[in-house]
């Protein structure tokens, strides 16, 4: 009943059930605005998040292509760069300011606006009500606000690209004093304010979303849907939302303090500074830049799990469906998600080993960091054992799920290297770090996202994506990801530092010129293939092959019991009741048994 309440707004709470029976799908009269723009339907909000995320991913990806061109071809000029970037690429060569601005914005956009907003926003909105059996979120209105705050944050951040002094350029982690002093560099002026305001709006969006996801999962499951019958996607999205709700406010408090340091003369993060550019000594004293790093990484570390947990959930679900086998170790999967969530809050200082952190404190964080290897390994083991002797169907979604596991292992193993403070001191500021986090959280999360998009596209749009393009997309992206990031491990182990735009005058590292060029070439190809994915996505919305059956993948979960194009409210008539867990594949000689099928006489409760 609370579902009905949520959709139809406030009402008397004490009404009997039968009063609600006349509700069906087309209860509201909807105009174009309420249906597609200010929609409160979780499925429309999901698509809004997804498409905004795709646009952001193209912008953020293009930025990486541009700075990769600089890294791969430091001596060449690209006149077309001046056409699009103007004074930031005079004569077709990036200025140092532009290089840093691009790197900063690439990180910010991909980490927050694509892999948090785009990934959680999309799949939490889409899957939570559909898979737990609810008509919509606990508060569809807050849900709508969540998207529009995201949109507003996006607009603010995007407009910072066009202001005269350029966008923020102090790195996506915006460490003070660089970010706190407008005189420090161009990007620390108005661009930094735009960054802070945009991120504050993003945090609000993510909190409103998270509140809703948690409440909906815990309170609005359909009859019979106990917590242990939930698909792993929902477990993952629940833990993601908990991480977000508890860690984003801390970032917000850090941003507020930073804003006061920037504009009102407080000294939270500033101390004893002399600016050579203006020949002035600042009056600030007693501020601690390390304090900012603590506040930032208290969010920043959970943030990487906010990115990877939804991907893990999507992969688990798609993998079980396409291996036609129950997920191996369901409770271990839930337990390891839980363990990761707890540990996520206890390891933030491993990002700060090179800041002069107390070595004793560092060793505690080393231990806690390395502990994450345990739940991660449990998950990898369970994915591999789910694949083991499965009846594999290599759909595009499944390929990306398997690719995810491969990339996650490759990227995760290097985490053990840099989780050790002693090794980290050597490796922290090198390309080894770039290789590590791009594989384990960047590429892996993208693989999870692609896996989800290909798999649920038929449910979202009633059509399939083109398979040929999908296979090309997968193989080129998988090979490309390894070809781009694998060589960076060698560069990093050799000590090649990150955050430089040109190594050609540096005899220790200019031997890598050929390798850098190779990485850039591969990056260009991979980016082109992503554009093909985007084309496939939009083309298939309108022209894709139509879905003709409700349950094209032969899946057990509830979303496949809705009509092919479900209206607002998802189910016509009653919400189905659930009798079993989501993973009865290949059981008792049956290919699959949907969750809505009552237990047979010979079956036991699960």
């Amino acid at each position: 009943m609370s579902n009905e309440l949520a959709i139809h707004g406030q009402g008397e709470t004490m009404v009997s059930h039968d009063a609600h029976h006349e509700h069906d799908l087309h209860h509201h009269k909807q105009s174009f605005i309420t249906k597609y723009v200010f929609s409160q339907d979780h499925k429309t909000i999901c698509k809004q998040f997804l498409i905004t995320g795709i646009i952001w991913a193209m912008i953020g990806g293009l930025m990486s292509v541009i700075f990769r061109l600089q890294l791969g071809y430091p001596d060449s000029t690209f006149p077309w760069l001046e056409d699009i970037l103007g004074k930031w690429a005079k004569g077709g060569k990036l200025t140092p300011e532009a290089y840093y601005a691009l790197v900063t914005m690439h990180g910010t956009i991909l980490v927050f606006f694509v892999l948090t907003g785009g990934l959680s926003g999309t799949f939490a909105n889409f899957l939570i009500p559909l898979q737990i059996g609810a008509r919509d979120m606990a508060s569809p209105f807050l849900n709508m606000l969540s998207y529009w705050f995201f949109w507003l944050g996006s607009v603010v951040l995007l407009s910072s690209l066009f202001i005269e002094t350029g966008p923020a350029s102090g790195g996506w982690t915006i460490y003070p004093p660089l970010s706190a002093l407008g005189d420090a560099n161009l990007g620390s002026q108005a661009g930094m304010d735009f960054w802070i305001v945009g991120m504050a709006l993003f945090v609000i969006s993510s909190l409103l979303g998270g509140l809703n996801y948690i409440t909906t999962i815990l309170n609005m499951r359909t009859k019979g849907m106990s917590m242990t019958r939930l698909p792993l996607t929902i477990w993952a999205l629940l833990f993601t939302a908990i991480l977000g709700v508890l860690s984003f406010p801390v970032l917000l408090s850090g941003l507020i303090l930073l804003m006061f340091d920037r504009h009102f003369g407080t000294s939270f993060f500033l101390s004893d500074i002399f600016i050579t550019a203006t020949q002035t000594a600042l009056p600030n004293e007693g501020g601690s830049p390390i304090l900012f790093q603590h506040l930032f990484w208290f969010l920043g570390h959970p943030e990487v799990y906010i990115i990877i947990l939804p991907a893990m959930g999507l992969v688990s679900e798609v993998m079980a469906i396409n291996a036609r086998k129950p997920i191996f170790g369901y409770m271990a999967m839930v337990g390891s998600l839980f363990a990761i969530t707890i540990l996520a809050f206890l390891v933030w200082a491993h990002h700060m080993f090179v800041t002069g952190l107390n070595p004793f404190l560092g060793s505690v964080f080393v231990l806690l960091t390395l502990l994450i290897a345990v739940p991660s390994a449990i998950k990898v083991f369970n994915w591999l054992t789910t694949l083991w002797r499965g009846n594999l169907r290599f759909t595009p979604g499944m390929l990306f799920a398997i690719g995810f596991v491969s990339i996650f292992i490759s990227g995760g193993l290097t985490g053990i290297f840099i989780g050790n403070s002693t090794l980290d001191i050597h490796l922290h500021d090198t390309y080894f770090m770039i290789a590590h986090f791009h594989l384990v959280m960047g590429v892996a999360a993208f693989f999870g996202m692609f896996c989800g998009v290909y798999h649920w596209f038929p449910k979202m749009f009633g059509r399939y994506m083109n398979n040929t393009m999908a296979y090309i997309h997968f193989w080129v992206t998988l090979a490309g990801a390894y070809l781009i990031f694998w060589p960076m491990h060698y560069e990093g182990l050799a000590g090649m530092p990150r955050r430089y735009m040109d190594y050609s005058g540096w005899s220790s590292f200019n031997k890598f010129a050929g390798l850098n060029q190779f990485i850039t070439d591969v990056a260009l190809i991979v980016f082109a293939v992503q554009l093909m994915f985007v084309f496939n996505f939009f083309y298939s919305i309108f022209k894709g092959r139509k879905v003709t059956t409700k349950n094209p993948w032969g899946a057990n979960t509830l979303e496949w019991t809705t009509p092919i194009r479900p209206g607002h409210g998802n189910w016509v008539g009653e919400i189905p009741e659930v009798y079993r867990w989501a993973y009865d594949y290949g059981k008792d000689g049956k290919d699959f048994i949907p969750q809505t099928e009552p237990l047979g006489a010979d079956e036991q409760h699960h």
């Binding site: 309440l5 006061f260 009102f264 007693g286």
Partner: protein, 193 residues
């Protein structure tokens, strides 16, 4: 028949928390994390050189008393709503909103007194934290005042008489929360100097 269904529903309701209330509790956890972040920043920063302290102005004691009383009026308001004495409820809701406004005004005068004593934003110490932390808290009280005023306006609508208690309970829980949050912050500033 319909009576028994209603009864079943009420029992069901008592067992399961309403989603809007649950959302509020999660939201409270989130707000708490923000203030936990700020107060731990205070604790870290306190160890740095150049830290200055301030004398807590007397006026903050009055504002503390005000918000405590407003919690009491909110509590009685909810009670009278349960007893369906709507006139009394309306009056108490209005008093709560006024006390909330009074609280913010008193905070403002507290800030002013500190500011005039030379504790401006330029500097490094407890006062700068106070302006930000208590300022953010006042913003949360402002949100509460708006919510309470919404309750008041709604109860004034003679055409639609709603006995739905959920919004009243949600607002009152939030109100007690901002009250307790201030008590925590006040004690924090009194003790940790």
């Amino acid at each position: 028949m319909s009576h028994s269904l209603e009864f079943a529903n009420v029992v069901d309701q008592n067992k399961k928390i309403h989603p809007h209330k649950f959302t509020l509790w999660v939201g409270i956890a989130s707000i708490l994390m923000m203030f936990a972040g700020l107060t731990s920043a205070y604790l870290v920063k306190r160890e740095q050189p150049g830290w200055t302290n301030f004398q807590v102005p007397l006026i903050f004691w009055y504002s503390t008393a005000t918000i405590l009383i407003s919690s009491l009026t909110m509590y009685i308001a909810l009670k009278s709503f349960r007893e369906r004495s709507i006139i009394k409820y309306k009056r108490l809701v209005a008093v709560t909103a006024l006390l909330g406004i009074l609280f913010m005004v008193l905070q403002f005068f507290g800030f002013r007194q500190l500011w005039l004593s030379g504790m401006v934003l330029r500097g490094s110490g407890a006062a700068q934290f106070l302006y930000i932390i208590a300022g953010l808290h006042a913003l949360h009280v402002l949100g509460g005042v708006i919510a309470v005023l919404t309750l008041f306006v709604r109860s004034g609508n003679a055409r639609i008489r709603s006995y739905n208690i959920i919004p009243v309970e949600v607002v009152s829980t939030y109100w007690h929360f901002v009250d307790l949050l201030w008590i925590y912050l006040f004690i924090f500033f009194l003790w940790v100097q």
